[in-house]
Symmetry: C2
Subunit: 220 residues, 2 copies
């Protein structure tokens, strides 16, 4: 049966999760589909476009069933969901960053965050800038996590969360994030597991809340 563009993206995500971005080459992808490298170019313009499609897939359904409530609650929820979506795939943050997919991507992650802030009372220009700023923060922080941190995305497998650490801020259910590829540095580093900032989610939340506090301060 003939290959489909969606098949190509599926296979790409498969390679990503199993071997990482460094091994996601057009030639390996073709091989995994049992096809010649040139065949891919019928379904996808080039590698950049493929990465864009992969990124769009990673960011799909980011705003499904969004809670209603204060802007800061919704803003936090979106940021945490974004991080969770990136963590759900090996090198997810790097892929999305490489694809420049947050600004333009189909889902419009930038637009989502921006909208919450204009609802809150910011001008469109301010809202977009602030949304971009936290987007950069989330991408950077999550890329760091995926670069050299002990994984933190099982949650479904074990009953007790790894170290008192869940991806969602409140008790809100995260969208269907399957288990990711194995992390490279599984041997725990010097994790100062006593401070209130231990746990990657808490560390992430700290930077996020500083930013949200700064935003709140300008609303008065």
């Amino acid at each position: 049966m003939a290959l489909t563009r969606s098949d190509v993206v599926d296979a790409a995500i498969g390679i990503l999760d199993e071997y990482g971005l460094g091994d996601l080459t057009m030639r390996r992808l073709a091989a995994s589909l049992g096809v010649q490298p040139g065949a891919l170019y019928w379904h996808v313009a080039n590698k950049q476009a493929l990465l864009g499609a992969v990124a769009d897939r990673i960011l799909e359904h980011l705003d499904d069933d969004m809670p209603t409530g204060d802007w800061d609650l919704r803003f936090n929820e979106l940021a945490h969901r974004l991080r969770a979506a990136l963590l759900a795939h090996r090198d997810g943050a790097e892929v999305v960053a490489a694809a420049h997919s947050l600004r333009t991507g189909q889902g419009g992650t930038l637009a989502l965050l921006s909208q919450v802030l204009t609802d809150a009372g910011f001008t469109p220009a301010e809202a977009e800038l602030a949304a971009l700023a936290v987007l950069h923060y989330v991408l950077g922080h999550t890329a760091d996590e995926q670069g050299h941190a002990p994984s933190e995305t099982l949650a479904r497998t074990a009953g007790t969360p790894a170290a008192g650490d869940t991806a969602s801020p409140a008790g809100l259910a995260t969208p269907g994030t399957a288990t990711p590829g194995t992390a490279e540095g599984a041997a725990g580093g010097p994790q100062t597991s006593d401070s209130p900032l231990a746990g990657e989610t808490a560390r992430f939340g700290f930077g996020l809340s500083v930013f949200v506090d700064g935003l709140r301060a300008r609303l008065t």
Copy 2:
């Protein structure tokens, strides 16, 4: 005369400024030095190490003649200097990001920002997290600027700054930043040049000040 490691880094920066990161290959670098590709590996372990050395060079002297004063003033100064240093070389932000050079780099940009915040009264853990957060912001924002914005780093050539826009926040002299490579999108996009957030430096400063406001709010 025999090549020196410093020569190699110099030549790498030359290629970077003239042709960009995409054209900075070991083979091109070797050719520009009139040497065989293999010769480079006597001076540099691999490409990653080379990029690290280039990044270190870009970030050199970031804290020369730092002003004294309130932590927020010094924090802002460092952030603006960092952006200026990145803008001083084509694809500077991407190089530094790729080199993971802010955390570990010789200069210790992370340590510098962190120190300012511990001086301000934050715990070491909080200070490092907050410093990392703005580092991510600066890198992301500046990478965006360098990716598709009309260049903004002449300042020395013309008497009147391009659009009421300088890299330094106050009248503080920036360290020796030479003129960068030409920007790719020289044709001006839809620049809404009326709002108070026009001008890349103002846009950068907005996100930065939101974060600093958030930090100040926790000091009470």
